[in-house]
Symmetry: C2
Subunit: 346 residues, 2 copies
DNA sequence: AAACAAGTTGCAATCGATTGCATTTTGAAA
DNA sequence: TTTCAAAATGCAATCGATTGCAACTTGTTT
């Protein structure tokens, strides 16, 4: 009933009257070992139900073949897509993936970093919390040359490979599109400005406006943590302004959804009275009514890339002090929420 | 520029002229060590930037403080919610969480099991793939008393703690509700019958019908893997039947969404012509148009429970051969897609 | 047959922490 | 001061795999 005893290389060695080193080498297909003994050893290993003890191996080799991933919230489509991509690549390369969520709490992010460091992951893939301003908590990794790859919510002051979408262009395209629809009083619900992605989206928005000779809506540029309730609060605030917005560019789909729900309640028409563009292309965006225009972010592909990069860094295939920021393409998806011609899904 | 050398307990021991055992005990707050030396040791440990080598500790203690989680698809709201719950509890208890996805592929599920086994996770939380029929691949764990907890897609023939929702009751409530709305020709798009949850949902559906003296729609009970395209195919098939359905109970929201989109295209009204109930309460269900009636599944809470159970098993707090199936409550959420009175969101 | 290189295998230390048991120290009682 | 239990510390083996170096087998070449 209890655990059957584990077979070790020593047991196999004893069985065949060879040394443990020979067994170790044979199982690793080391060419030093003759084919004959190698085959025999492998045979016996199977018969004895041997499983290598990776923990012992890890101790000796100082590698864990484990990647740490820190995201704000696992349970969020964009992030779970990235994780899915990371897992896919990591699995094929023989790495395990350890996931932790910061809940957008800097304190927890730091503690997770500690924990991952203590557990000696070989590399860390990270998207920062909404609260993250400093990067000292990551010195643990940078100090010891433990590879670090950022995605989406990257930190400017850390030298590392980074994967982002073209947030500036996203903001630009979204806003320009709204302008083309005839909107002139365009508000923006943005994220915290300590994070580059939200600065970039904001700047894209500002650029599109200035290119069209327009001003941002006075008091109409808000910044919060972009949750459902933040969005709710923001839209209430916007609808109290002396000059009402005729369009809103939201820095994520979640707040755009809050806007849709609130406006629907208030019988304010979308897009006729207020046009709307979000960011991220969450699954609900396509099916919400009205369908939400948004900027597509290739989460899964970003995950693939992040994993590829970190594994190459771990394997020393990438220069250790020459980092690149990979900009993935964004795409504006135009749906009902911003279409003034008013095409309705057939 | 390169990695600074690691401090070990031996370094600390040498520094203070004590033995490594003393250091080890002191750092673990072992009462054998006097408070005075304990304090001194901790002090020096901090000064020297000591970090315990968990790998060495794991080797010695034969524990990894790691939980393995296998889900069909990370990037799916229900599953990522469960993972989120697992992570929450695990983190607090000092466990790392390793995630893998089977992509609903039995082959991959088996390989993941192998990998988790090899990496010596302390316990495994699992929701089976659509293809999983046998459970031999899990003998690895059961043979060696490695705790296993199933959730949602459980396997009948494995003795383990299991967490499910009341799928039978879900199917019953959903179907009964459709009957109460006046529907008489109710179809069902279900999942593979090798999985108990889909059998239960089907049986709930059948029970509700028979209680009302109704028959299942002839040729109107389909089984597939419940993807978007499966749903698409299924609804096309149903709409070719001699007796058209006036309602459909879908075993998940994904296929229900396929149905909504197809019927919308065909200008078939929901719920007037065909009423609809899904299962799982995905985030899009609330906002799709028409809003989808569905059965709520408490994913996050299931994750919390799964983690709690497996950790208690690992710690030997639970009898090792006395297993329970925990049935979480389901709740019918009634929305537009099944409301014949036709209340529209205000 | 001697000599030597190439091909195989083994020895033993190492990775760092843990722990049963032995030993030493401390302090109080006799 | 002696005695002895209690308290504190150290010894050394252990967890299982890896690897530089030494040692031993082959087989080939003069």
């Amino acid at each position: 009933m209890n655990t059957k005893p584990e077979t070790t290389i020593h047991d196999i060695a004893r069985e065949l009257d060879v040394s443990a080193s020979t067994v170790s080498r044979a199982l690793k297909n080391n060419p030093l070992i003759s084919e004959k003994t190698r085959e025999k050893i492998k045979q016996v290993a199977i018969e004895m139900g041997y499983r290598p003890n990776v923990v012992a191996s890890n101790l000796r080799t100082r590698r864990t073949n484990t990647l740490g991933v820190i995201v704000p919230l696992i349970n969020r489509h964009f992030f779970s897509s990235v994780i899915s991509g990371v897992e896919e690549v990591a699995y094929k390369a023989g790495f395990a993936v350890t996931i932790s969520q910061s809940n957008d709490d800097f304190q927890k992010e730091s503690q997770i970093a500690q924990a991952l460091f203590a557990s000696r992951v070989d590399g860390v893939i990270l998207s920062a919390s909404m609260e993250t301003i400093t990067s000292q908590h990551l010195n643990l990794f940078t100090d010891r040359n433990i590879p670090l790859v950022f995605f989406d919510r990257v930190l400017d002051d850390v030298a590392a490979n980074k994967i982002v979408v073209d947030d500036f262009r996203g903001g630009l395209l979204a806003t320009r599109h709204l302008i083309e629809q005839g909107c002139r009083h365009i508000a923006h619900i943005g994220g915290p400005l300590n994070l580059a992605i939200y600065r970039d989206r904001l700047n894209g928005y500002l650029k599109a406006l200035s290119q069209a000779g327009l001003q941002p809506l006075p008091e109409g540029v808000l910044h919060n943590r972009l949750t459902r309730s933040d969005g709710d609060e923001a839209i209430r605030q916007l609808m109290k302004l002396p000059q009402l917005p005729d369009a809103i560019f939201c820095a994520n789909d979640t707040t755009a959804l809050s806007v849709i729900i609130y406006l629907r309640q208030q019988k304010i028409r979308i897009p006729e009275d207020v046009a709307l563009v979000g960011f991220s292309n969450e699954p609900f965006s396509e099916v919400v009514s009205p369908a939400l225009s948004t900027i597509k972010q290739p989460g899964y592909e970003m995950g693939l890339k992040a994993a590829e990069l970190i594994i190459r860094q771990i394997n020393g295939e990438l220069s250790a002090n020459d980092f690149t920021t990979y900009v993935m393409p964004t795409e504006l998806i135009i749906r009902e929420s911003s279409l003034h011609q008013g095409v309705v899904i057939a």
